[in-house]
Amino acid sequence: AQSVTQLDSQVPVFEEAPVELRCNYSSSVSVYLFWYVQYPNQGLQLLLKYLSGSTLVKGINGFEAEFNKSQTSFHLRKPSVHISDTAEYFCAVTPNTNAGKSTFGDGTTLTVKP
């Protein structure tokens, strides 16, 4: 079984400030890691994913995340946020041996203020 903990439920920041959304996970097997974004009244869209290889993953809209195996973390970062980044962000893990069952964190609401 696996679990995902998003350490901050709400993150308010000012426009053009950097942001980090934290995600820790636990799993007894190897996992793939994902970050999704959900804009109001929409479904989720993939921001980025880590499957293997380089631990720094770059995604859409200027976001990146770093996989840290020893700390079992997959924190999402952006050096300068925009108003349009206001949304809910979900970290997810999928065991590489059990197709179909992704486990999501409870989400982090990012609010970018002018």
């Binding site: 994902f34 999704y36 989720l44 994913k49 041996t97 179909g100 992704s102 486990t103 999501f104 409870d106």
Partner: protein
């Protein structure tokens, strides 16, 4: 190309009634996943269908059921509705059940149980 479509957008039911939610995956996708997004609880995995078969099931009671049709569209049925079933129900699809595939989400059905 059309994305994942869900219907209806909103559904209002009363306790004890049955609800049927529908999902059409992206053309060519054979796997359909259902998630429940209740307020403050993140996304909870409900069901996974692939090639017409139920492949995996989350920790939900049997009154949550579904099926996948030959054209890969899917229905989620919730019987004997309870107030706590009120949530956004999200459907997602992938080309197959490979764990490294991102999930393509629909915009969801907002179910309200009164």
């Amino acid at each position: 190309e059309a994305g994942v479509t869900q219907s209806p957008t909103h559904l209002i039911k009363t306790r004890g009634q049955q609800a049927t939610l529908r999902c059409s995956p992206i053309s060519g996708h054979t796997s359909v996943y259902w998630y429940q997004q209740a307020l403050g609880l993140g996304l909870q995995f409900l069901l996974w269908y692939d090639e017409g078969e139920e492949r995996n099931r989350g920790n939900f009671p049997p009154r949550f059921s579904g099926r996948q049709f030959p054209n890969y569209s899917s229905e989620l049925n919730v019987n004997a509705l309870e107030l706590e079933d009120s949530a956004l129900y999200l459907c997602a699809s992938t080309p197959g059940g490979r764990t490294n595939e991102k999930l393509f989400f629909g915009s969801g059905t907002q179910l309200s149980v009164l």
